[in-house]
Structure formats: C-alpha cells, structure tokens
Amino acid sequence: MRPMPLEVDLVLPRLGATPSGRRVVFTLSRDSGILGLCGPSGSGKTTLLRVMAGLCPKASGVVRVDGVPWLDSNLGTDLPLEGRSVAYLPQGVSLFPHMNVRENLVFASRLAGSARVVKRPPSTGRLAGFRSFWRARGLPGWAQEVVELFGVSRLLEKRSGELSGGQVTRIALARCFLRSARLYLLDEPFAGVDPEGRASLGRILAGLLARRQAMALLVTHTPDELCSLAGGMVRLLPEEDGDGSPGVPVSPGRMSETEARGLLARSGGWE
C-alpha cells in the first residue's frame, strides 16, 4: 500500500498566545493540492506551521510525509529544516531591506539552485568566473518563469520601501516558490491583495502545485475564497472549546478525496 502523502498527529507546544497541550490530527490523502487551515487568532495555526517546518524544537507527535517521518517523538526523530522538503512562507513576511527585488529573488534562487541537482556543462577558468558573475545579476530561466507566473517581473529593480503591501505579498510568494519542495506551508499568503488578485493568485498557486506534485497547507481567515481551490479544510477551535475533552470526530462529509479531521478540530464548513 502506498503511504499517505501527509499525516499529522501533534500536540502543540506553548508558543506565544497558543495554549499548550492541544492535539491536532489530520491527513491529506491526495498527492497534491491545497489543504486549508483556519481558526481564530491564538488557536495555534502559526505554531502548527512552525512545527511542521521544523522550526519549533519542543513539539511532540508525528508528522509524516510520504511515509517518511519528519517528526516522530516516539522514535526521537526530528529532522531540521534542511532535512525536510518544505518551503515556509511566514505571516507578514518582508523582503530583505538591503536588497532590491531582483537581489532578493536571486538570493533565494541561488539557495534553491544549489539544492537542486543541475547538470552543468564543464566550464573552466575565466569563462566560468564570468558566467558566475552574470548569474549573480540575472535570474536563471526556471526562476524567471516563477517570477513571471506571479506577475512581478516589472518590479525587479524596485527597493522594498517602494512597494505596496500587495506587491510585497506577490514577491514573497514568488520567492517562496523558487524553492521546490514537497510541502508548502503558507501563512496568509494573500495578505494585502485585492479580491480579484486573490482569486487569480489562488489559481496560479493551484496550477503550480499540480505541476510540481506538491502539497500546500494554507492558513486563511476567509475560508470562502478557498472553496474552489482547497481539497479540504482543517479548522482549529478557540481555546475554550478545547478543554481537554475527547472532542467529536466529525465525519469527512463532502470531503470525499481528502480526509481532514481533528480530535479537537472540527472539519468541513465551507460551501
């Protein structure tokens, strides 16, 4: 039997406003696609993403991707960020202020490029030095495609202070997707973008994920806009409801392909 693409069974640690000891359980059975994540402020959405990205050392539970344990506190496994095929877009992200947009993207693409296995023709001496100089200026072809996809190729020479919130959002998304990963963790990735822009960004995202055969966990405060995109929804409840009672396992309902449920998390509820 093929292993489940994504299995999560976690007890969230205390981080900021998040109450400790909350259990979150969900799985994603499709190979690619978007799983929505919603819930009121302080319900642990960001903590959940940080745990899954490997940025939170005090987590306990299981995160398994394609059967490979990224985190398994029973086995003592906790892969660092570098060991996980994950790309994380934090909430309210900003660009590096000392670089313009192009330099931001080149920085990310070089880091992503060194990770991918690219067969380069053997080049030597001065020519190689010259090439690497030009590579520092420009984006490689594959990165150029991503940049054009998110519609930010006109902004390359701008400094981060000259951009609107929505433009920063698009650039940050493009920068995140320069990394090829199995799982994308997106914390409110459409912040500051107008409704039409959100819809088109959503379609771009869905198409990209399908092409890359990648999964995304997407935090949103407006679950409605994910109707057409998300294969399912994980809903974290506010603290009062999670008083330690076993909770109600909710049937997946219309989520025929995706099973998203939580012992303390109720699922469904879009449409």
Binding site: L81, P90, S94, F96, H98, R159, G161
Partner: protein, 226 residues
C-alpha cells in the same frame, strides 16, 4: 617635527581601526549569535579596557610584552626586536585598548537585525555562514563604519597606554598627544598648540561623521539606504 608625530598618529590609528573592524565581525558575531554561555564572560573581557585605567593597562601590557615573559620573547623572536618601545608594540597595545570601541557598535547593529529576517534567510535554505555574509554584515554597514570611526578617534586620543608601551621615541612611537605633552613641559607653547589643534580637528571630524552615520543608521528600511 609635527609631521612625524602626525604620520605616526595617523598610521597607528588607521591600522588599528581597520584591523579592529575586520576582527569585530567574528567577535561581535560570536557575542550576539552564539548560544554558548561563555559569551557573557567574553563580552566582559572585551569591554574591560573601557573601565581599566590606561596606565594600568599600559603597565600590564609592558609586563606581558617584555622579552623576559614567554609571549613577549616569542613575539620578539618573530619580529626580530622586542615589542615594547616599537611601533609594532604600540599597534598591538592600541588594538587591545580600542577593541571595545570597535566591537560594541557592530554588536549593537547585529542585535538590531530582526530575528524574523535571519530566520527568513534560514527558511530559504541559507546556511548560517551565508546568512552572516549576505544578510547580517550587509545590514550592519552603518555599525561597522561607526566602529571604524570610534576606533580611529579613540586611538588618536590615547595617551596613557602609548606613553607606557611606546616610550615616546620621535618618528617611531611619539604620537600627537605625547608631542603636545612634551612641548608643554619644555615650554614650547606653539608646538603644543599646533598638536592640540590637530587633535581637536580629528575629534570634530569624527563627531560629525558619527552623527551622519547615526542618522543613517536610524532607519535601515529607508528606500534610499545603501
């Protein structure tokens, strides 16, 4: 006469400030980013010369630099002459004396970089050294410049240490502040006044530079920041 004292002072201060700026990067990086609990002790030792009387430091350095001690004899063999009363000895003493003035501004700049920014670079796949080279250092350029200016200005004005370690040899270890003192003692009022005026000029220029840098450093997110 004033030319030789001036060139000794400028050479000494320039070398001290430049070497310290280079050294301040790993030192400040260690103080700010290391999780080791030794950093508190390290930082205390680094800032010791802020509170130590210069004469005390000069005396201690003379003892350590002396060819009778192990480090002093090693250095003497390496250089071909004993450290005390030479330019090399003066430079080494200045490096130690001005160290906190160069390291503190850099460490302060490092601390002001938001942790989110550093974490973002890590998330994009940068190794710690790459983060340091591409994010931390470029974002701390005003702090580095401030450290250089402070190191320079502080070395220009030092008196007690250069007196003890340098020995006031004209053309070799006699700096402007020593020359002003000598001239005053030997009733050469004009010579003392010229030295003091030059020292005053150095201090004023440094202050203006520091204020310009501070204004620049206030808002690292300004659109036209370099």
């Amino acid at each position: 006469m004033i030319h030789s004292a001036l060139s000794v002072t400028v050479a000494l201060s320039f070398l001290t400030a430049t070497i310290l700026s280079v050294l301040s990067l790993p030192l400040a990086g260690w103080i700010v980013f290391s999780r080791s609990s030794w950093t508190t002790l390290g930082e205390s030792i680094l800032t010791l010369t802020l509170v130590l009387p210069p004469a005390v430091l000069g005396y201690l350095l003379l003892v350590v630099f002396s060819p009778d001690s192990l480090p002093g004899s090693l250095m003497a063999r390496l250089l071909g002459h004993p450290l005390p009363f030479s330019f090399a000895g003066l430079l080494l003493a200045s490096l130690i004396y001005s160290l906190p003035f160069s390291v503190q501004p850099v460490a302060q700049s490092f601390r002001q970089i938001p942790l989110r920014t550093i974490e973002m670079a890590r998330i994009l796949g940068a190794r710690p050294f790459t983060v340091f080279r591409k994010i931390v250092v470029p974002m701390s350029l005003p702090g580095l410049a401030t450290g250089w200016v402070l190191g320079f200005a502080h070395t220009v004005g030092e008196f007690g240490v250069v007196m003890m370690v340098g020995g006031n040899i004209p053309g070799e270890t006699r700096t402007l502040s020593l020359k002003a003192y000598d001239d005053l003692l030997s009733m050469k009022a004009h010579g003392a006044r010229d030295s003091v005026l030059i020292l005053l000029l150095f201090s004023s220029v440094s202050l203006v530079a520091l204020n310009l840098l501070r204004r620049k450093g206030v808002d690292p997110h300004a659109p036209d920041a370099p």
